[in-house]
Every structure is written in C-alpha cells, then in structure tokens.
Amino acid sequence: MERPLTQHIPLSGAALQLKEYEAVGGYSALRKVLQELTPKEVTEKVKDANLKGRGGAGFSTGMKWSFVPMNVTGPKYLIANADEMEPGTFKDRWLLEGNPHQLLEGMIIAAYAIQATQAFVFMRWAYKEAAQIMTRAIADAYAAGYLGKNILGKDFQLDMQLHTGVGRYMCGEETALLNSLEGKRATPRAKPPFPQVSGLFGKPTIVNNVETLSYIPHIMNKGGDWFKSLSYTADGGTKIYGVSGKVNKPGAWELPMGVTMRELLEEHAGGMKAGLRFRGVLPGGASTDFLTDAHLDVKMDFVGVAAAGSRLGTGTMVVLDDQTCPVGFVHNLEHFFAQESCGFCTPCREGLPWTEKILLALEQGKGTYADLEQLEIHTQLLGPGNTFCALAPGAMEPLQSALKYFREDFEQHIKDKKCPYAHH
C-alpha cells in the first residue's frame, strides 16, 4: 500500500531536510514540470487526476486553477492554507512538520500553473514548530534555487513567505484568510467574485489546503491514473485520516481514499478504550454531522460520507463514547463556534451564542422544551445561504445531528433538571 504523502516522513518525527528530500526524488517533479510542461498542461494534469481539495469542501483542484485568468498583467498569488483549526484536525501538521519541502514543491508547481509570482504559507499561530521548520525550508529552497528568480534556470520566478495567523478559526475560510493576510479583519467575502479572479489585494489568487498541495509533485511525477489507482473509490488518491476521542490509539494515518470508518476505528485506532462504548462520530472534524454505529461501514470518501448524511470534511474523526454527555460535547463545540464567529452577519453572530447558552442551560438543568425547539429552529435557519459564509452552517451540523441521534439525552436533561452524566 502506497503512502506517497507520508512515506518519507522520518519516524523520529523530525522534518525531512532538503538533501534528504532530494535524495528520495524531491524537486524532480518541479524540474520535470519546468522542462516539459506549459502552465496549462500542469493544470490539465491535475484536472485529469481529479484531485479534490483536502481542506474540507472537496472541490476539484484542477478546476479551481483553471478559473485563474492567464492573460492578465499584474501579480497573482498562490497560498497554502495551513491554518488548520478545525477541532479534531491535525493532519496538515503532520505534513508541515514532517515534509515541508513536499509542500513547497507542490506550491511552486501550482504557482507555475497559474503563473503566480508570490506565494504565502498562511499558518496557524499555534503551530510554532511547524513555523520554524517551514522558515528553514523556505530559506533552504531559496538557497538551492527552487525559489527566487530564474528557478532552475528557467524563466520563472516565485517568492515565498510564511505568514503566521493570530489564531482565528475564521482564517481557515479562504476569503477571510485573504482579508487577514491583507491586514484586515478576518471576515469572509461574498462570492462572486471568486478569489481566482479577485483574491489577495484584489488580484487572481489560489488558496489550497496543505494536503492538497503536497500531492501535486506526486501527480506530476506519476500521473492521474496512478493517483486514481491508489484509492478504493472514485475519489482518487490516499487521504490522511485521523481519529481522536477515547480510542486506544488516537492518531493519523495515510490510507487509501474510501477506507471504512470501521477499519479506521477498529484496526488503526485500536477500538474504544476499555469500558467505553462507541456512541457516534463526527467523521470530518467538528463542523460535520454525527454518524452512528449504523454508519460504520460507510466508505470515507466525499461521496460516501455525504450519502450517509454528513461530510468527509478534513477526514479526521472525533469519536463520542457512551460516558461523555452528547449535550456537553455539542455545547463545547458551539462554544467554540460562537467564539470564532467573526461577527459580520447576524444569524451567526447572534444565533451561535444563543445555541451555546441554551446548551449550557440544558447542561445546568435549566433547559426547557421551548429551548429544544429553539435549537431546532436554529439548525434550520442557520443553513447555507442564510448566513454569509459556511461557519454557522458548519456549526449547526453536529447540533442538528445530535438532536436527531441523541434526542433522548437532551430530553433527559430537561426531565431530570440536570446532566445525567458524571462530570469530571
């Protein structure tokens, strides 16, 4: 079983240095691209592979690139979204800390494809170690002639900068990321216009996830058919899956796209801790709907999880066990989302704190049936389109599914006038 993204990451956890990366074929894809392919051909190749964005939305990467106008003057930008702040998600961190040059090579190729001359790595504030590693990697890449003017002697130049955020979940949304990078408030932008046309500083811009960009060198080297062959399903490639929660071996693994939840949970994460039973799971991070044991055989790809009523998201599962209160669990999530709301649009800014307060009231035994109804109303009204961006709709996914699957827990809080779970 191939693990293209992670196979070279040393087990020690130390970052793969430039020389080591080159020794395992690093930057050969870039060399090949600059020698053999036109920018358009690079995009076509990515399109052929049907690589889907690993940040959560699953949009075709090649398609995204193809929207960038190629006949314009002025700067264009390529940005790696390394602002990994989805609760329960730590897959990009692995790549950032373990194989920084793989990301850089992917970014340089992507920049070539859209003819960008400036690239940024927008990194989560808390990833201090990754930031150090990336700083060194960028410096090394400059020194080796992979960045700067006349890259590998060709008529292509690219500058790269690392930007560390200040710790706002909102910055993971690509347009809010752009505003933040411009030094403005991290509020999202309306689309259209899309960043591909009017992005950073109003110029054509591509924002891709770290995992997505890290795949580019491999697709360049081995092609679309190879990429598709890695997968169990129609969504090609491997995927870094993660499991957190009260399992025996929480962690992250690069596995073929479409592995089942059961395999992930039981084989890789080692099953539930002793004495605990599996109750439900957020399959793709905090902003995805709960699935339950009825869904354990769902294939973890974009189509499969969606068919089960949730989203693949970032592919990193958060497991709920039978001794953790689902109301408290969701309250914790809504607290996070309410706090991370940027405050731009009304439903999110005012609605999320309301749900948070209701959930807290339920936990404290002060909840009512009217409160439950209010939660239901919010899950309906804070839907896509009603709010300015996807933050609030994402925040409603665990809530609406918790109300569906764990309704008896909510009602018990009201009847008992207290939380029935033991609190620590």
Binding site: M170, R189, P193, G343, F344, R349, E350, I377, N386
Partner: protein, 897 residues
C-alpha cells in the same frame, strides 16, 4: 429592461440594480439594514432575505439576500414567501437578543429604522431569555452621543465614516457577538462629516448630541424644507422646531446637491437661532422701541431715510429677497455689497468666468462623477466641506470603473469593488498653500504661495493650448508638475477644476478658467467649481452693487447720512480702522440682523431680522443654483424677515414700487421682473395659492402631540395657529398627507417608515432623484458661444523677501463662519488664533512654536502665537480667517515683521 416576477406579478425593473433596490424602487416594502443607496451592499445583516425560484415549476426555491443578487430578466422571486418572512422575522429576533429595548428613553425612538423594520417583519414576541451583553459607551465629542448597547452591528457607521468619508478614527473592534463600533479610545471624532452617523445609524447608537440638549421627538417637530447657511454650496436641509427653538437639522435629499449627507458645520451650526444673543425686539438707541406694534420704529427708520443720502449695505448671508428689496428701497446707486474687497473680487470674477465661458459649474453630484480633479489654491475640506466629500468619491471613479470591467461587478457590490480597487485612486492634483486633508488621497499635492499656484495653473493651460503664453522662469519642478497635470487632464473625460475664495487670488481663478476652457476647446467635457464664502455670495454678486470700500469713501465725503445695514457685521468685512471710519461718519445706522454684534453696537435703530428658520427666501449657491428655503416657525417675538421689515419701511415711506408688494410671491415676481438674471426663481416652488386636493402642505406630522396643552400654562384656550400667507405650507397638522412637490417636503415620512430611510419612498428609484425632480434651478448656464480670450497676465513668482512674510488665509470649518460658531459644540472645535510659520522662518524671526509674534497690517497690531508648519513655502505665513475676536487681516498680503 429586464422583467422580474415578484410574488407572481411581473415588473419591469432597471438593469444593473440589485433585487432589494429593484423592490424598493417599485415601492414594495422589504426590510434592510446594512444596505444604503450611497454605500451599496455588503450582505451583513441578512435582513432583506427573499426567496428565488428556478422557474415557474420550482415551488421550493431558496433563500437569498436580495441586496446581493443582481436583477436578471425572467427572475422569479417572492417577498411574501413563508420561509423568507419567517427568516426575516428571526433576523430581527437575533438583533433584538442584545438590544436594550429602551425606545422610550432613546433619542432615535419614533424615527428609528430598527423600530420600523421590527414592525415590518412582525417580530413581536421575545424568545430569548438569557442575559444581554453590555458595552461601555464613549465620549465622541460635542456632536454625537454614543450608546453601543443599542447597536445591531450593521457596519454602516464604519462603512460611511471610513470607506465613504475617509475618516480614520472610527472602526470596528473585537469579534463574534462582541463587535464594537467606536474609537480606539474616548475622544472627539475627527471627521468633518461625523454627524451623518446619526442618520446612517439605523438605530440609536449614534445620535445628535445637540438635539439631546433640547430633545424633541420627530413627530413633535414643526419642520420645513430649508437650505444650509453654512457655506456657499447650498446643501438642502430640514429644520425642525418646537417651542420657538430649532431642535435639529437633518439632511434633505437632493440628488444634484448634497445627496444623503451634510457636513458638521451644516448639521450643527444652527444653534445661533436659539442664541441668547438674538435680537428679538426693535431697538432705538439701544433701548427697546417704545411701542411694540412696530409702527413707531418704522417711523424712526423713515425719518432717517434722507433721499440721496441713504445707502443700503447688502449681505451675502441674507436672502435674495432681502437684498433685492433693500436695493430697490435705497436705489441702485446707493446699494453696496456688504462683502470684503477680496471676497467681492473673487466672487464677481467667479461669476464672470462662469458666464463668459463654455464650461459649466459643477454641482456636487457632477463633482463626485469627475474622473480627474485639479484643485488650485483651496483647502476644500474647510472652505466647502461637502465638495471635499464629492472629491473623495471622484477619485474612486477610474479605479472603480476598471475593477467593474475586469471583475464584472455591479456598482452596488461595495465590498467586492473595494477589494478589487484596494487603495487605488484616480488622479487628484492639489496645489495649495499648506497641507490639506485631501492631500492623502491625491496623486500629487504641492504647497506654495498663491501666485506660484496660479503660475502652475497658467503653465498647465499653456500645455493644453499653446496660444496661451508660456510661463517664463519656471523651476524644473514646476514644469514637471504642470506637465504631469496637463497630460492627465488631456486623457480625462470629465475633469473638474476647483478654485475659489480660499486661495484669495484672482490669478488662481483666471488660471483655473484657462485650464477648463482649454480643455473644453480640446473637446473635453471639463467642469469648474468655484467655491464662494457664504450661502448667498453668488446671489448677491448676481444682484450687483457697489463695492463696500466706496461706501466708506462716500461716508468720509459726507455723501451718506444713513446706512441701512442688512444682516451684516461690517467689522467682518472691513478692517477695524475702515469700519470705525465708516461708522464715525454716518449719522444713523439702521441694522437688520439676528445677533447682537459689533455693528449692532454702532446702530441707531435695530430691527430684529429672522434667521433662515423664521424666514422664507431664496439663496443662490456657488454653481448658480437658486433654491428656496421656507420658514420653519412663526416667532412669538417681533422677529420677521428682513425683506418684510424693509417692505414695511417702504410702505411708510410710500415707495412707488415696493409699497405694492406684500407677500413672498410679490417679492419673487418683482425680482424676476426687474432682473432678467433671476427670471427662473418664480418656478422654484409652487406659489402660495398652490393646493393639493384643496389643501395646504402641513409642517407638522399627523402625530404631532400636545398641541392643546403646549401653552396651557399661559392660557387654556388653544391659540389659533399662525397663517402662512407667503407659501402653500401651513403651520398646523392639518392638510395634505401625500407627497408634496420636492421643493416643499417638510419631513420624510411614509406609513411604516418613520425614520430618515423614508426618503426611499420619495425617490424615482433608490438613490435617484425625488419624484418631482431635484429642487432648485440653475441660473447660470455656460456660454454656448465659447469663451472670452484666455487670460495672459501670469503673475511673477513669489520669492521670500527679507524681513517680510506673505500672509495667506487659513479657513476653518469650525470657526471661520460667523453664525455657526454660536453653537457651543462648534465653538468648542474652533482653533485659537495663531500664525502658521515655516520652521526656517521661525528661525529667521527667532521664535519657536507657541511664541508670540508681532506684526502690523494696515495700522492694526497683531500678536499671535506661532504654530510651525513646514508644509508652507518658506516666506509664507498662514493666518486663520474669521475667528471671533480676531481682526480681519487682508490676506494674501505682504507684511513686515
């Protein structure tokens, strides 16, 4: 035009609009907060949600925000859809979770967009039972009250203050449900346009602090359409009164003039009307006239009007009517313009240039649409503030157009356009005596002496038309500046050249005309904007009269016994020496004015003249636009319009023409018949006989309260309301309730729309002109036959002289205008007198910042503290104009230190 289907009915709508604009323009009710016609759409509040459907078979549809969705032919939408209504109701529910529900004690109450929208959505039951968040409020200066707890986070305030008006000290802080709109710390809001926050804010976060001093609900105000007295631009205002005091000024929308906004001088400068310095009764020899019925005092006046020895001194801050009646009363030979020599020279030249040339005077709306702007010698923010706001829009034209084309954006997509435009600015070039606020958005700003500014103007015009002589002796830098400006102007479609009284230089005006005319000759649609100092400077100049210095001379030569001074303090027009000379050689001074001033001290007879709030009249603004202002209330004192006093004087004197005139319409007709240049003023507004459905237009809204109780402490029987014989307005609640002609609109109100947002209902389309057209009529139109010869008298360059300084005027929005400084808040914003000096000059005269510097001007000694300003050219010194207690200094002039 596209056809859209709204709730199963087809409507023809305008291309390029968004659905919210389309719905509102159709007269449909759809609630909104963050969208504003002047600011565009950002989609923040989510209040204007509607359903759109794929086609006639789609029954599910999807909710979208109507402000963010462009009109598209055959689009199907529903306002009335159950889900859309439910969502809109919940948006109010969310907004209300933290709103304090303090309507009863909120200044916005009764004129609150949030109240209106709450009622419109039907939200009436509170589901939220948790605690509310609370904020600290800030001290924001004398103009605005801050009550953040009421905030519904629509972001309009920052979008106006920062994005539209270029302010820097108001922003949004924090995140999630803690977002805070205010300053980084307590302090006076710096923008000259801060008062607009009170109208932009849909609820009571920013409210008018001067109104708070004498608070009245909107529904209890007696209001009338009026015209701002603060400068020469003639912004349209609404003035509201109760109990004989003007309570507040709000914007009166006029698409061609001020649009939705006012400057802070205009909004807050009204309190002189309520000043305790007001002259309320006729006075003779500084005592009250013996009888109150007015007859004896008129006799006093009559006796002093010696034929051939009586002169009249007009006023640029008095109405056309008052000036014209005075001119007729004393005779054209005896009528003098009550303006300083410099102002007269500049305004009369401006008038000539507009009449003699083919280039039109720009309205504020035209100015905002200019693609290239050249400012010669003016600090526009201080001399004509709203023009500065227009210039701030004009510099966005080219980059916005480019962005729209590149990214395919509609004009209303504000956030996306600002993103695409970034900090790009279209060409604005400023040549001024010192740094001005607009410099920050200029492509080039240079500071030098007035004559040097004129030289650059001439040099630009030479580059546009080589029959204009070359300016010799230019520095290389000067040549470069001229070349850059000329090249950019040549590429413009609608360039605007701004000059005016602030530069204090006729040469600048002439060079500006040269530039504009040369552009016109190249087939470019150039515009001119000449600022003028006062609200009727242009009207007075058009009426024509002799120079004020001639009146002084005549008095010295015993040619005048009596002077009738109209709404004027001659100590602001002449230096103290000349003014003293004048009064010492005049036997009787008859003064008509509002406030007791230095001239009043010299007056034999004083007649209490109505301010704009107690008067009907006409003003002509800097572009030659005549506009009518209406009396707001009837004073209980002897105060009345100057023109009415003068007609009464004329009646006593048996004046052949004037004694047959009685009402406003008579005077207006007389003026139009006597002076062809004022022919248009009879059609400014319907005459006094105009009726709608047989009724007059009431100044009081139908909810006006307490009418029978207001004066009950004095007399339980309600007095008969005053009759208005001059206009088709009434001083009552009774009358026609529909929409009056736009020139007469006393307040904006429509069922369900109690706030200023009701103006939507009076417009042809949102942001467009009022149904009845924009009020006012332009009296000066360009000369279709081309222009008089180009000016060729290029001034010599100004070079600093030893021992000398060139004194140049510095105007202040707060301080340089005579009446507005009687508003305590404006007085508080006024600078103390100073002398602006370059640091090298300070060294030369061995002074530092704060030191007092002595100099003499026409025999008057000045001692002023020095302020260092290195943006001045060396050898040039700035002196503030018009500050109270300061003698007028003739600037520019060379002084010896």
């Amino acid at each position: 035009m596209p056809i859209i289907n709204i709730d199963n009915k087809n409507y023809e709508v305008k291309e390029g609009k968004n659905l919210l604009e389309a719905c509102l323009s159709l007269g449909l009710n759809l609630p909104y907060f963050c969208w504003h016609p002047a600011l565009g759409a950002v989609g923040a509040c989510r209040q204007c949600a509607v359903k759109v459907f794929k086609d006639a078979d789609d029954t599910k549809g999807r909710i979208i925000m109507s402000c963010m969705e462009p009109v598209k032919d055959q689009l199907r939408m529903s306002i009335d859809d159950k889900d859309a209504r439910n969502f809109r109701e919940h948006v109010i529910g969310w907004l209300m979770t933290n709103h304090p529900h303090d309507c009863a004690v909120c200044d916005e109450g009764g004129a609150c967009h949030l109240q209106d929208m709450t009622v419109m959505t039907g939200h009436s039951y509170r589901d939220y039972h948790f605690t509310k968040r609370t904020y600290n409020n800030q001290y924001l200066g004398p103009f605005l009250n801050h009550e953040m707890n009421r905030c519904i986070q629509c972001y309009r305030c920052v979008r106006f203050y920062k994005d539209f008006a270029g302010g820097k000290d108001l922003d949004v802080f924090a995140a999630h449900n803690h977002v805070y709109f205010g300053r980084q710390q307590d302090g006076i809001l710096e923008s000259e346009f801060s008062g607009n926050l009170a109208e932009i804010c849909p609820t009571g976060v920013f409210t008018d602090k001067t109104l708070k001093q004498h608070y009245t609900r909107k529904w209890d105000l007696t209001s009338a359409a009026s015209v701002c007295q603060g400068c020469g631009l003639g912004c349209n205002i609404l003035a509201g009164e109760r109990y004989g005091a003007v309570r507040q000024i709000t914007n009166r929308f006029n698409a061609a003039v001020n649009g939705y906004f006012l400057c802070d001088r205009g909004r807050y400068g009204y309190e002189f009307v309520n000043s305790d310095q007001r002259i309320k009764t006729p006075m003779v020899h500084h005592g009250p006239a013996e009888q109150s019925n007015g007859i004896p005092v008129l006799e006093h006046v009559h006796h002093r009007m010696v034929p051939g020895k009586t002169i009249g001194i007009g006023s640029p801050r008095a109405s056309l009517e008052s000036n014209a009646v005075l001119k007729e009363l004393v005779g054209a030979d005896n009528f003098y313009l009550g303006v300083s020599a410099a102002d007269h020279d500049l305004v009369s030249l401006s008038l000539r240039l507009l009449r003699q040339g083919p280039v039109r005077a720009a309205s504020l709306q035209d100015a905002a649409a200019a693609d290239v702007v050249l400012i010669l010698g003016e600090d526009v923010t201080n001399t004509a503030p709203m023009l500065a706001l227009s210039v701030r829009q004009a510099v966005r034209r080219i980059p916005v157009a480019a962005a729209q084309q590149q990214v395919h954006l509609a004009a209303w997509q504000d956030a996306a356009i600002r993103e695409a435009v970034q900090e790009d600015k279209g060409p604005l070039f400023i040549l001024s005596m010192q740094e001005t606020k607009l410099d920050e958005i200029a492509q080039g700003a240079w500071h030098t002496a007035p004559d040097n500014i004129a030289r650059i103007g001439y040099a630009v015009s030479h580059l546009l038309n080589d029959t204009i002589p070359e300016v010799t002796g230019m520095s290389e830098q000067g040549r470069d500046i001229a070349a850059t400006i000329a090249k950019t102007l040549k590429s413009a479609a609608h360039p605007l050249i701004i000059a005016g009284y602030g530069g204090g230089s006729e040469a600048i005006l002439k060079s500006a005309a040269n530039v504009a005319w040369a552009l016109h000759d190249l087939g470019i649609d150039a515009m001119l904007s000449f600022t003028v100092p006062e609200c009727n400077s242009m009207g007075l100049e058009m009426l024509d009269g002799h120079r004020l210095e001639s009146a002084v001379e005549r008095a010295l030569n015993n040619g005048a016994d009596t002077a009738i001074v109209l709404e004027n303090d001659l100590y602001r027009r002449l230096n103290q020496h000349s003014a003293d000379l004048f009064f010492n050689n005049i036997k009787s001074v008859i003064l008509l004015d509002h406030l007791y001033n230095t001239t009043a001290e010299k007056a034999t007879v004083i007649l209490p003249a109505g301010t704009f709030a107690e008067s009907d009249g006409t003003l002509v603004n800097n572009e030659g636009r005549a506009q009518r202002f209406f009396q707001v209330f009837t004073p209980t004192t002897a105060v009345q319009e100057s023109w009415r006093w003068l007609l009464q004087v004329a009646a006593v004197s048996g004046h052949a023409v004037l004694s047959s005139l009685q009402h406003l319409d008579d005077v207006v007709k007389f003026i139009a018949a006597t002076y062809p240049q004022f022919d248009g003023i009879t059609t400014l507004t319907p005459d006094a006989h105009f009726r709608l459905a047989g009724q007059k237009v009431p100044r009081e809204p139908h909810r006006y309260s307490g009418r029978t109780a207001m004066l009950a402490n004095e007399n339980v029987s309600e007095p008969k309301p005053a009759e208005d014989e001059d206009t088709a307005l009434s001083f009552t609640m009774e009358g026609y309730r529909g929409e009056p002609p736009s020139s007469m609109i006393p307040f904006f109100w429509q069922p369900g729309w109690n706030s200023v947002q009701a103006v939507n209902k009076y417009q042809v389309e949102t942001g467009g002109p009022l149904h009845d057209g924009n009020a006012g009529k332009r009296l000066i139109e360009p000369n279709v036959n081309g222009h008089t010869p180009f000016y060729t008298e290029v001034p010599e360059p100004y070079l600093p002289l030893k021992e000398h300084l060139l004194l140049v005027p510095c105007y202040h929005i707060f301080g340089s205008e005579e009446l507005s400084i009687h508003t305590p808040g404006i007085a508080a914003r006024m600078p103390a007198p100073y002398l602006l000096l370059h640091s090298e000059d300070a060294k030369r005269f061995q002074v530092t910042e704060g030191h007092l510097l002595h100099f003499m001007d026409n025999g008057h000694h000045y001692t002023l503290p020095v302020i260092i300003n290195d943006t001045l050219q060396q050898g040039v010194a700035g002196i503030p104009v018009g500050l109270p207690g300061m003698q007028i200094a003739e600037a520019p002039q060379l002084i010896k230190v």
